[in-house]
Subunit: 444 residues, 2 copies
């Protein structure tokens, strides 16, 4: 397949997809849901081929779990599509309406972005979700999934494509890329592709960002912080930290670094350390942190039976410059002198994704949330809430750490832009420049 040729055709189709009414776009989504249900057995049969391949190639069980597309997953994606149908139309919203002068009216109207390239991980449900968001928002899309789900993606995409054509969408408005080398071809299409959304490993996302002129939305790293303030409620500290680290360790919104106020460090660590240890979470702390832990361990030994070797926690002393995104049961810990030091550390070493403060002092929280320069700034809750579903967006195509356009979880709103329409009766600028006419601004 010649990606450039296909994408060029898609670019010409895009304004016509943008012009589809909400009724037509919802019709397409209904057909997708209906046809997925109708052809469920075929889908499961194709998915089985991917699972067999995974089995023969010794793919890890946690990955196989994500590859699997069963009745439950089918039910979930169909429920997601039905939710999307219920959501209000993101297009054609007038966000500014202003008379510039008598008979000269400016409107700002939401429109789709156009042609979006999405490169995503080996999850068949992701293909359905992303396509559905693009259909609802009137965008054309080129979709490239992981090779581990080749058979599943092929049949799912086929069903989606047939459904949108049946609903009256133009030929070529959606496209599935199957070959890995097609990604590089896609990266060259900066005259036709309006946006790329890469999902996957840091290294992969970074590669995309470094090798294209197409705007990229997403995030490479997710170095999320929790700052335990001196006014923290200790009862909240441990559940939040354990949730943020363990509830889905490989997620971008899992916490990677804990910052603890010096005034409460010994007290907090005396409770936190055993909790982390019992969850099997390794610690990479600054010397000050590991010294306190050593003291806690020593006190423990004095008080009780010495713990056996296998129960010894994995604790290492590191520099704060070594703190990083682990995506594993490891957490960095540093002690800070005050809130400002915490804020500065986060702005310097963080990835501007999601950072939380635990405190009962609302002024300190307000200051933290003002000064931390991240897409999400939280008080007294887990960083794991950073997610389109949990924000009530229905679904997301990903999370953006960029400051321009969409920031944080990206749902339908992040897939639209706007255009200005100006309707006149023959007005020319010369008349306003010479003073023959004067502007008469009035918001409508």
């Amino acid at each position: 397949m010649n990606i450039r040729e296909e994408v060029k055709k898609m670019k010409l189709a895009a304004p016509h997809v943008a012009a589809m009414s909400n009724v037509q776009r919802n019709k397409a989504l209904s057909l997708v849901a209906e046809n997925l249900q109708k052809r469920a057995d075929e889908i499961f049969a194709e998915n089985k081929k991917d699972l067999e391949y995974a089995d023969q190639n010794g793919i890890a069980p946690q990955i196989v779990k994500r590859l699997k597309f069963d009745e439950g997953k089918l039910r979930d994606v169909i429920a997601g599509i039905n939710q999307l149908i219920q959501l209000p139309d993101p297009l054609g919203k007038v966000t500014l309406s202003r008379q510039l002068d008598e008979g000269l009216v400016l409107n700002r109207v939401t429109v789709p972005i156009g042609v979006i390239g999405v490169i995503f991980e080996a999850r068949p449900d992701a293909l359905v979700q992303i396509s559905s968001l693009c259909i609802k928002s009137g965008n054309c899309a080129i979709l490239k999934g992981g090779k581990e789900t080749t058979y599943s993606n092929r049949i799912l995409f086929g069903i989606i494509y047939d459904s949108v054509i049946q609903a009256g969408f133009p030929e070529g408005s959606y496209l599935q890329a199957e070959q890995h080398n097609e990604i590089d071809e896609l990266l060259e299409c900066d005259d036709c592709v309006d946006l790329l959304i890469p999902r996957g490993s840091n290294k992969f996302v970074r590669y995309i960002m470094d090798n294209t002129k197409i705007p990229v939305m997403g995030h490479a790293d997710g170095v999320c912080h929790i700052y335990v303030d001196k006014a923290a409620d200790v009862e909240k500290v441990i559940p939040i930290i354990v949730d943020a680290k363990t509830q889905y360790t490989a997620a971008c919104n899992a916490v990677e670094t804990l910052l603890i106020h010096r005034d409460v460090a010994e007290d907090i660590l005396s409770k936190l350390y055993p909790a982390l240890k019992s969850e099997g979470i390794a610690i990479r702390g600054t010397k000050e942190v590991t010294d306190i832990i050593a003291k806690i361990e020593a006190a423990q030994v004095e008080l009780s039976q010495p713990t056996d070797a296998s129960a010894a926690a994995d604790v290492e002393t590191v520099e704060e410059t070594d703190f990083r995104e682990y995506l594993a049961l490891i957490v960095s810990i540093k002690i800070v002198g005050d809130e400002d030091e915490a804020i500065e550390h986060i702005n310097k070493y963080g990835s501007h994704h999601t950072d939380a403060i635990i405190t009962e002092d609302d002024d300190a929280a307000a200051r933290f949330m003002q000064l931390v320069d991240s897409a999400g700034v939280y008080q007294n809750c887990s960083t794991r809430f950073a997610d389109g579903f949990r924000y009530g967006f229905g679904a997301e195509v990903g999370i953006s750490t960029s400051k321009l356009h969409a920031r944080g979880p990206v749902g339908l709103e992040g897939l639209v832009t706007y255009k200005y329409t100006l309707k006149g009766e023959g007005q020319i600028v010369g008349d306003y420049a010479t003073g023959k006419s004067t502007f008469n601004f009035k918001d409508l």
Copy 2:
């Protein structure tokens, strides 16, 4: 000056500038206005040095006109600053407020982008306008103006910097770069600079876009079209086209290409051609166009005295693939079979800046405005209206043809982004995953 070091410091100052209240930011703007007035004589003296340099180096009069900073320009920039003070605070606006569950509240709040690099043409008033927009929107900025205005920029920037410091802004929150090689250093600072806004020639803007990983807002080309529909009111056609071409020929929103419906082509050209000729506008038309013009000329010769050689219009036959941005008294003309052909031509060859239809048929206009994929789509008015002042934005930092973030004229709204704040009482995601808690979405 080590740009990287300065920009790094600015990045750390940025959250503190973002935290300045509207009162403080307006105070800074008042001081700028006041100090500009107070030091007017010094400014004019420095500007005179730039004018002398221009004179000695034979700089063209139309450029000298832009370099000049006199009482009139001073009055204008001060009026602009006072307007900006009156505008509502663009920061801290809550654009989404949603309860996710009892005691777990999500807000989306507007915040500054952070550190913005602006590279602009040799116009001292541009420096003041751009700085003022950055101050009002709580952004830090690195400013680099044209070398032709070195003396003027130096004193103007000095006054602005002293004023913001006097108003309590942190040291190093604004910076003027004076050396051309500092632009290349700036392009490397993608970890500290959040946005670049280059203004200037196509070649220069393209250079910036091709040589940085920092997001760039702006436009390289401005190939704007006017499509004269078969239902066009002939009375509107000529004034609009002449205004769009001549009112400011070198502007990016000046028209470059005319598309005329075949059914009315002879009639329109019989009136348009003499009008273009009398304005000294050269024509680059497809063969069909130049054939019609030849016929018009022949009829003219038959009817009256032959025109003398000096009055002969500059008409050349070219292919539509040769159409381009002239920024001069030259216009491309093509005849199209229908509206769809016009739309396809614009989407294929245009620069997605501003395109207009002249028609009394509102359905045709609606179709055009829907399907043309540009930042501005106009009916029955000049493309020259694409401008922040004329849209009532107070001022603009430039016009964006990008689809992401700001599109069209970029005023205060284009200089802000948002962050999500989430306030909880200890909520963890695990409780929602296991069904112990359930989301209870409610827009507030």
